[in-house]
Subunit: 336 residues, 2 copies
């Protein structure tokens, strides 16, 4: 195991200076601190468990692109579930919003060592978030919500089984008699949007439905989705649309109603996530639930396993279809 | 929640008789006991947690088709890993060999209720094992090693990430310069053999190698694999063969050597599982490791989550390629 003295020897400085840098003490230059941290990471330094026994045991939740401060926001319950298991187990949990600027100024491992975090739970990173590339070789345990990194024994992926969720949504529509189903999605710049997109076609094929590629459309902006792509799906004569997330499904419901469609009599719409508002849309929305408390709890289980050298790679929760009133059999055909 | 009295009322018998049947007391007829158990399962009866607090907390490991009694056997470490977490947590763990006869005589749920087991860890079931169909609707938590059941919140799948393992094996061979790779497999009657078979082609496509379907061959018997299918792969000019499990890889090494091939100079061979003997074959075998202690530990984590109503569906460990001496660059071509 690499000791502080080894880092000091390599850089030709004192062990005391190395200690200051690794513990984030302020009285050394920022430049020197960065150099020491980078060397520590390069040499594979990780803080000794023995040493940490006398210290506070700290974990962090690194969050980006996700609202979490109020109970109705997506990240709130995920964080709550994590804390519900982590805090009784004796951990302090810090929630840290990490922007691109911070991530470009320091590597993931260096950040974790400097702040004395034993492991992290990472929420809301897109494929282009800077630290995503660090996770391919990082050594400090990280559990990523909805992101998968192959072959690094220190990194796990947790989430719901989106393939199962999509299969439940498509089967539900097929049982209601729908044969012509469309898919409307956010841009495919995140891992999970790619998974849902692929799962949509897989589910169509498995149920024997037409899986022509033109029936899935995506755009970065919700407005572009509903103004540009939704009409094209309607022109194709779809009787049901699955949306990649609830906000988009809600926008699609509103847009279709403005175009004169009756939901669900003329068109069924299904969302993804089951955000709290879904029970209160008009009509209340059928959607695939991500149980966010359970996601948080299972993230803690995965992180605890990684900390104990059980290298979990993937942990998926069962998906659950919540059937409300935005789906039904095709009762009348919209006069196009 | 269904009470014993409800079951008694439905059958028109006393609550005492129901209690006897559910607790496996001997002094009622076998026929009546079966009827009571089946009715209990049908009505969704599960023993109350409150009641069990005063009792022994029992879990079981249900095992079939797998040797486990000696340290070198496949199931030994899996069971050990499970016990290493379950027993300190206060559970008694029974290991039960379950044959088809037992499984056809009683349903899974009825067996669990009758024997007072709170949950099970299931090892070695093929797709045709009788209780496999019970798991689609069972209510008593079950964690299945290497078997996946969709959409039942009481059932989880644990194992290593075979897709990742196969990708590591194919990448390793590609880096060594192999372009013409074959796959030899046990029969596809188990879930995991289907996953590995599919992953082989996926890995070939992802690395840009020829993924012609004739390069994967399977048979029920190892002898049939090596006597009938192996020569066909050699005729196709493969320079490397991946095998679905270590025993098959070892048989393939021996057969090739008898046919005059030098391993690895003329032909590379990779196994799957990393059984203890792999370090001692001639040459020592490159293989994809299933860390069996970790599988057992993660199975316990998954079962504990299910018991706490966190419905884990899939939990996969990172695969690890163990490079030994049965793989190398193609140094000389075998004179065919």
């Amino acid at each position: 195991m690499i000791r502080m003295q080894d880092i000091a020897d390599k850089l030709g400085i004192s062990k005391g200076t190395v200690s200051k840098a690794l513990n984030g003490t302020a009285n050394i230059s920022e430049e020197l601190q960065k150099k020491i941290l980078e060397t520590a990471v390069e040499m594979g330094y990780t803080k000794k468990l023995r040493r940490q026994k006398d210290e506070e045991q700290k974990l962090c939740i690194l969050i980006d692109n996700t609202e979490y401060k109020a109970p109705h926001q997506f990240g709130y319950d995920i964080i709550l579930g994590f804390r519900q298991l982590a805090e009784p187990a004796g951990y302090t949990v810090d929630v840290i919003q990490v922007n691109d600027k911070l991530q470009k100024s320091i590597t993931y491992d260096a950040f974790m060592i400097q702040n004395n975090y034993k492991g992290s739970f990472v929420i809301g990173f897109s494929l282009s978030t800077p630290w995503m590339k660090d996770f391919y070789s990082s050594r400090i345990p990280a559990v990523l919500y909805d992101n998968y990194i192959p072959a690094n024994p220190s990194v796990a992926y947790v989430g719901i089984d989106n393939t199962e969720g999509m299969a439940l949504a498509v089967s539900h529509l097929k049982e209601l008699g729908h044969k012509n189903i469309g898919y409307l999605s956010a841009a495919l710049g995140s891992y999970i949007m790619q998974v849902r997109h692929k799962s949509f076609f897989q589910a169509l094929r498995q149920t024997g439905l037409n899986a022509d590629y033109t029936r899935a459309r995506n755009a970065y902006l919700i407005t572009e989705c509903v103004e540009r792509h939704l009409p094209k799906l309607l022109d194709m004569g779809v009787t049901a649309i699955i949306c990649s997330h609830d906000q988009l499904a809600h926008a699609a419901i509103c847009q279709c109603q403005q175009l004169g469609y009756h939901i669900p009599e003329e068109l069924s719409i299904i969302g993804f996530d089951d955000l709290p508002f879904c029970a209160y849309t008009s009509p209340p929305m059928t959607t695939v639930r991500q149980n966010r408390i359970q996601i948080g709890k299972s993230a803690y289980c995965a992180l605890e396993s990684l900390l104990n050298h059980v290298s979990i790679g993937t942990l998926l929760l069962h998906a659950q279809l919540i059937v409300r009133e935005s789906t039904s059999t095709v009762k009348t055909k919209h006069p196009t």
